[in-house]
């Protein structure tokens, strides 16, 4: 539970601290996607990423109320969490491996784009407006999600090498020194 709570807080921090006025879509996702990947890698339970994302999303919704309501704000984090939970077993369950983590992070962050689109439609933003910059936004979200996955994988590798209790079996399986 400690890890889950910690990751949830990191999601909020990633949302607030890393946000820069650089007009690059999705850049803040690097940190919270990395946090989700790390959390899912450490807490190897079926719905752990979804739970972390739910708690993080609720914190964000509470601290930064949005005109579109808490549900959509939370969905922006829960949907990536669910994607991560769904993909992790199919990717061998090892998010400390670079390729699976990068792919999982990219797919998870791409899910946020879908929620953003739904949010725009609910707010009656014309489709013509939603379409502007959609390609770049999608590509950037995927890229930053991949970067977050990579970062998460590298941290997990370090944690495995450090033989933290939750990952000791992975260290043994890898024959890690």
């Amino acid at each position: 539970m400690t890890v889950i709570a910690l990751v949830a807080v990191m999601i909020v921090l990633g949302k607030t601290l890393l946000r820069m006025p650089i007009n690059v879509s999705g850049h803040a996702g690097v940190l919270w996607i990395a946090a989700l990947v790390i959390g899912r890698g450490v807490v190897r339970r079926p719905w752990s990423a979804t739970l972390m994302a739910l708690i993080g999303g609720l914190l964000v919704a509470f601290m930064q109320p949005s005109s579109s309501g808490a549900l959509l704000t939370v969905a922006k984090y829960v949907v990536p969490g669910m994607l991560l939970d769904g993909l992790t077993p199919l990717l061998g369950g090892r998010l400390d491996r670079i390729a699976p983590a990068v792919v999982a992070g990219a797919a998870a962050h791409a899910g946020k784009v879908v929620v953003d689109l739904v949010q725009g439609m609910i707010a009656h933003v014309p489709v013509s407006v939603l379409a502007v910059g959609l390609t770049a936004s999608t590509a950037l979200h995927i890229a930053f999600g991949a970067l977050g996955g990579l970062l998460g994988a590298l941290v997990l590798q370090g944690l495995i090498q450090a033989r933290i209790p939750q990952l000791a079996d992975l260290a043994d399986a890898d024959g890690t020194r």
Binding site: S66, A110, V125, P126, S128, I142
Partner: protein, 175 residues
């Protein structure tokens, strides 16, 4: 785990990586197709929305971006992009960025708003809080509705921080 089991798991992992990668590429391609086949914002305008007209009209068609001005739930005016541009463009520099668009005061004046105590800016909320309340004293001649490249407006001004800004404005509620 047996060697066969390990091989199966490895194959499944690789297949999943390939499938997800293809899916993501397909997603980007779909986004590109959608963006390139959707008319630009403001391309479809209804009657009475000529470039020379600044008179607010009845609610625009669902495919055209517009900003409503309301008071106590009553619609005062609707402005599409052309009409907003017709109110006069002002340039202000906020947080090192140049913002350009009609002033909020001009929008309120053309909507027939007399006295007011506060204004609530409502946006889609997709990339920000989507809501900002401004007291009358916060609204000055440098508070503008910046016309963004994506064809929507966002509120900007010296009293509005980056975190407070509302993009894709859909409604201005006057109190």
């Amino acid at each position: 785990m047996t060697d066969n089991g390990r091989v199966t798991r490895t194959m499944r992992t690789r297949l999943t990586i390939a499938a997800v990668t293809l899916a993501l590429l397909a997603g980007v391609t779909a986004a590109w197709w959608f963006e390139s086949h959707t008319p630009a914002p403001g391309a479809a305008t209804g009657p009475g929305t000529s470039a020379a007209s600044t008179t607010p009209t009845a609610p625009a068609s669902s495919g055209v971006y517009s900003v409503k001005v309301t008071r106590d739930g009553r619609l005062l005016a609707t402005f599409d992009l052309t009409q907003l541009e017709g109110l006069g463009m002002k340039q202000v520099v906020v947080q090192g960025r140049t913002e350009q668009g009609p002033t909020l005061l001009a929008v309120l004046e053309h909507a027939g708003v007399g006295s007011y105590t506060s204004v609530t800016i409502i946006g889609s909320g997709a990339k920000d809080a989507g809501r900002l309340v401004l007291d009358a004293s916060d609204i000055g001649p440098d508070t503008v509705l910046d016309i963004a490249k994506r064809g929507t407006v966002k509120v900007a001004g010296p009293n509005i921080t980056y975190a407070q800004r509302v993009r894709d404005i859909t409604e201005i509620q006057v109190r």
